[in-house]
Amino acid sequence: MPDKMQETKQDKTETNNKRVVGVSSLVVIAMFGFGFALIPLYDVFCDVLGINGSYQTIEDGTYDAKAETERALKNGVDESRTITMQFLVTDNDALDLEFKSRTKSLTMNPGQIKEVSYYVKNRSNKPMVLQAIPDITPNMAKKYLAKIECFCFKKQTLQPGEEKEMPLRFVVNSALPEKFPVLTMTYRFIDLNYKAGVDTKSGYLQTVQVDSTLNDIN
């Protein structure tokens, strides 16, 4: 009799162990999934909080330049005040690239459409496929800026030695709060060849494959 009791107890422990292993494994799988679920959650948070939003829409191809422009223009031009726009570029040490803004700074009324130009030259002896990554300071002014046309909307292919003038046409919504008298825009180029750069043999083909994950606008 005691033997039998011992046995039942052992069976019970084994069943319980199986249950713990089962439930724990489910938690592990769910949390692995949660790691990936953080990506859409992160985008939602960025949207709600107004951070990062427009860049991602430029990069993933859902930036609606027309709608953004209409929204920015509907408040008209505010002639009672001027704001200063500054245009910076950020060097990418990994690229042999000459990149500068033709206009360093301009003063304008909110609501005016302005166009500036950027110059880029591939100084290396290899073709480059470039994507411009935008940023703006202060961060919270981002939603008041609409880009009508931008070289950051699509990837830029540059042959060795090739140079380019690239336009940026934009408008700042006159609803821009007065606490932002100066807006600073900056661009940085990233080489889409960079992943392929690890493997010099496969080179360009791999780049094309990487490119297919990008959706061009226009």
Binding site: V28, F34, Y42, V198
Partner: protein, 519 residues
């Protein structure tokens, strides 16, 4: 009592005995402690003077990176699992862990994971050109994505994760299903409680880390763009995913040490632990809060003010349950009949110096001040106070406390105390000055620095060399104790209470084959 088991190497390869596996974990951890410690010595030697003296900058970066990874994943975490293996079954009156064969597997993954992690270090032309990871233990994208041997690192992390997850499931199953009759949850020793909560943290966050490195893997080799801005990804996302794992991880390292200290202090104060229930609830509260504070590691990344405020308040709130614990330890000692054997010295050292680390943590948790301290040596000083004089002190205290039960011999009290005083003086000489240079603006992870920081760095390095050397003494003490010494009694310590002190010393190979009755 018959304890049939294979002998020689087969005993250790095939063992499913919780004591054998605990021993394996602890030796593995000690080995890693010495390897990671040797790397710290290289770092301190290079930083002894401004300018570049001994190593190449990339080698220096590799040392800081590997030091962090090895200490976190190789030394502290496996040591805690080693304690769990040895002590949890003995403390709850179980004959072994619930899943002994999985237990064997969780351990034997570890040496291979460690090997895979360090292998690239030896893949350069000569040693100084080693190609180990050199991007910091937090492996932030996009820098880590440019590392040409990333797959080694990623699969090493995957293996370490597997090992931790299996170990944790085993511990949960053991604690839930293997307790002796009468051992209700609220009668469990606090060490068992802290490990139960740690195990839950592990199975919740190790998979998130696995997800993060999997995304890095596909970014690097399969053309995805989770973190690559050029393809629509975002490197800041990496920091969020990493710290969602990383913050609970720091509690994974410290909670079992809380448990060890909560066993030791009542023994040598000869009083029951003050506020047992509040200790349990405080541990659970810390574990819960650890999930909702991660972005305090990235205050300077560019967050809206609302985010900064939320993460700041949530972070500072952790001080409440942590203070509950510190006050409870103090209250346990209050008016106790205290004696100061070696484990008690380490435990008191833990309470005192962990609290210093906790206070600097509060300073870092305040968003506006963090902008000043971020990525300086102040941060380095902070997390070494909580991890070295916190987690590691807890581990060393636990080794001295249970070594007589494990080996049947008493360690040399004189040498143990020498080890404590050498370590405690030198560790403060090592890390305290780092607060000063940090506040003055010395950045972390940099092999060269402004000469204005030279004096404090030289002092810090000297402290580092003494602290490093005094751990060799620890090794000597352990080996001497295993080989002989005064025989330990069953209870070992006059004030010790709990099931593990009712069995003979050394603990027989099989214990509690018949479950004890707990009243």
């Amino acid at each position: 009592m018959s304890d049939h088991h294979p002998t020689g190497i087969k005993r250790w390869l095939f063992t499913t005995n919780h004591k054998d596996i605990g021993t394996l974990y602890l030796w593995f951890s000690f080995t890693m402690l010495l390897v990671g410690g040797a790397m710290a010595m290289v770092i301190r030697a290079e930083l002894y003077e401004p300018g570049m003296q001994l190593v190449e900058p990339n080698f220096f970066n590799m040392m800081t990176t590997m030091h962090g990874l090895i200490m976190v994943f190789g030394a502290i975490m496996p040591a805690m699992v080693g304690f769990a293996n040895w002590q949890v079954p003995m403390m709850i009156g179980a004959p072994d862990m619930a899943l002994p064969r999985m237990n064997n597997w969780s351990f034997w993954i570890l040496p291979f994971a460690a090997l895979m992690l360090v292998m690239p270090m030896f893949m350069g032309g000569d040693f100084m050109q080693g190609q180990g990871p050199a991007f910091g233990w937090t492996f932030y994208e996009p820098l880590s994505g440019q590392y040409n041997k990333l797959a080694f690192f990623i699969f090493a992390v995957h293996l370490l994760g597997f090992s931790s997850i299996m170990g944790s499931i085993n511990i949960i199953a053991t604690i839930f299903n293997m307790r002796a009759p009468g051992m209700t949850l609220m009668k469990m020793p606090l060490f068992v409680w802290t490990w139960l909560i740690t195990a839950f943290l592990l199975i919740a966050v190790m998979p998130v880390l696995a997800g993060a490195v999997t995304m890095m893997l596909t970014d690097k080799y399969f053309g995805t763009s989770f973190f690559d801005a050029a393809g629509g990804g975002d490197p800041v996302l990496f920091q969020h995913v990493f710290w969602f794992f990383g913050h609970p991880e720091v509690y994974i390292m410290i909670l079992p040490a809380f448990g060890i200290v909560s066993q030791i202090i009542p023994t040598f104060a000869r009083k029951p632990l003050f506020g047992y229930a509040s200790m349990v609830y405080a541990t659970a509260a810390i574990a819960f809060l650890s999930f909702i504070v991660w972005a305090h590691h990235m205050f300077t990344v560019g967050m809206p003010v609302a985010g900064e405020l939320y993460f700041m308040y949530a972070t500072v709130m952790i001080a409440v349950p942590t203070a509950v614990k510190v006050f409870n330890w103090t209250a346990t000692m209050w008016k106790g009949s205290m004696t100061f054997e070696t484990p008690m010295l380490w435990a008191i050292g833990f309470v005192f110096m962990f609290t210093i680390g906790g206070f600097t943590g509060l300073m870092l948790g305040v968003a506006p001040t963090d902008f000043q301290y971020h990525d300086t040596y102040f941060v380095v000083a902070h997390f070494h106070y909580v991890l070295v004089t916190g987690a590691l002190y807890g581990i060393i205290a636990g080794v001295y406390y249970w070594l007589p039960k494990w080996t049947g011999n008493m360690y040399s009290e004189g040498l143990g105390k020498l080890h404590f005083w050498l370590s405690t003086i030198s560790v403060n000489v090592l890390f305290f000055p780092q607060h000063f240079v940090g506040l003055e603006g010395m950045p972390r992870r940099i092999p060269d620095y402004n000469p204005m920081f030279a004096d404090w760095n030289a002092i810090s390095s000297l402290g580092g060399f003494v602290f490093g050397a005094s751990q060799i003494l620890f090794l000597v003490i352990i080996i001497m104790t295993i080989r002989g010494g005064k025989k330990a009694t069953d209870q070992v310590w006059e004030g010790a209470e709990g099931l593990e002190w009712t069995i003979p010393s050394p603990a027989p190979y099989h214990t509690f084959e018949t479950a004890p009755e707990v009243k």
